[in-house]
Amino acid sequence: MKIPLTFVLNNQETTLMIDPGQTLLEVLRGQGGMTSVHRSCEEGECGACTVLLDDEPVNACLVLAASVQGASVMTSEGLVKDGTPHPLMKAFTDELGIQCGFCTPGMLMNAYALIRKAGDTELTDAVIRKTLEGNLCRCTGYVNIVKSVKTAQKLKMAGEWW
C-alpha cells in the first residue's frame, strides 16, 4: 500500500507516493526523478548515492524513504542555481576531478557538506581524504578530487558560493 511522503527535496517541499519498503535511493531516482543519485552497490559500500539528509551526507541506499518524512534532502541537482553550475561543480570541472562521472554526484555532496562545515579552516589533504573515504572512485586515483575540493574551498573563501 502506497503512503504519502512529504519532505523538502532540494529546497522544495515535495510530496511523493511511496511504498513503505522503498529506500530513499529508489524514491529519489524513481518518483523523485533525481537521476544524479547513482545506484551501484545498494549496500552502503560505494557512496555513489550519497545525498545530504538534514545537511549530513548519507547513503541513500541505506535510508528508508519513509523515515525522511518532514526532513530535508539535497541531491547534486540542488546545487545548481538557475542552470548555473555551483562553484564546487566548477572546481571539479576545472581540476578534472571527474573521469567517468559515476561517483561524482555523491562525491560532490560529501565535499559540499565538508566545505560548508570547515568554515574558514583550510582543509588539509588528510581531512579531505578521510572525509571522502566512503566515496569510492575507480578512475581518478582521488588526486584530482582532492585538488578539486581544495580549489572549491578557495572559491568559497573568495565569496563565490551558495
Binding site: 511504498d19 513503505p20 552502503g44 548519507v58 547513503n59 566515496n135
Partner: protein, 313 residues
Amino acid sequence: MSDTNGNRTTMTTRPGGSFIGSRAMPELVYHAPKTLPELMDLIKIHGPAARIVAGCTDVIPSIRTGRWRFDPGLHLVDITKINALNQIETHEDMLKIGAGVTLTRILTSPDVKGFCPVLARAVEQMASLQVRNTATMGGNLCMASPAADTAPPLLVSDATVILQDARGETTVPVADFFTGPGRSVMTPGQMMTHICIPKIKDQDSAAFLKIGTRTAVIISVVSAAVRIGMAGGVCESARIALGSVAPTPVRVTAAEQFLSGKPLDDQVVDACAGMAASAVSPITDLRASAGYRKDVAKTLVKRCLMACRKDLT
C-alpha cells in the same frame, strides 16, 4: 557430489537459495513511534512480526543479500524518532547514551570525549562518514557482531546497557551482553534503550587500536582496547578487551589480573600482551586466519598498553 560409488547429491534451491545479485525490499509497514510507550505498544501489538531498526545500515544489506528473509506482514519499527533514545546525557560520573544516537554524534560529542574518549577513537575508525551519520550505538551492539568496534571500548570502560520490555528495565554489563555471533542476552520483545558509561578516572588512560585488511572503511580483523589506572608507579586497575578474536567481543581477565600491582615496564607489557593473545581462540575466515589474528592481537594489546603508559607518564 558423485562419490566413488556413483551416488549423486541432488540439491534443490529454495527461495533464498539461488545466487541473486540484489534482492528486493520486502513489503512492509513502517512505524516511527515518537515515545517509548508508543514503541512498547507497537511491540506488544505486532509481536514477532515487529522488527526494531534504527540506522538500517545493517538491515538493508542483509535484505539485499538474502541473509535475512522476512515473511509478508513485516512491521519495521524505527526508533530514531524517539527523543528519549536520542540523547547523550551526563549524570554526575555517568555518561548515558541513547541507543538511537548516531556514531557521528558519538564522535563529535564533547561529553563522550570527556567521559569516554576511547569510544570516540574507536568510532572514528568505523565505516564511512555516510554510515556513521545513520548507524547507531544501539544498532552496533544489538547486531552483536564479534567485530563491533564499539564493544572493546565499552568493555574496558565497564559500561552497561539498559534493556527494556513490557515488564520494565534491566541493566546488563556489556561484558555479559553478548552470547555469540549475532546473539545477545536480549529476548524477543526486549529492546536496548541506553548505554551507560562511567566517567574515566583522571588517573586512568585508555587506548583503542584496530587492524583491518585496508586502512579505511574496513571491518576489524582484530580490535583492541585497554584501560589502565596507575598508582605509585604500579598498575592499580586494568581492563583489556579484544574484538574479532572470539564468538563475541571479549575481555581477557587473566591478562588484566597479571598487571595488577606491576610496573608497566617493557617486560610486563610484553608478557601481558602475550597472555591476552593466548587467551583467545579466533576463527579463520575470509578476512584473516586464526593465526594472524592471535599474532596481531598481541601486537595491538602491546601497543595499547604502551600508549597508556606514555599517556600516564
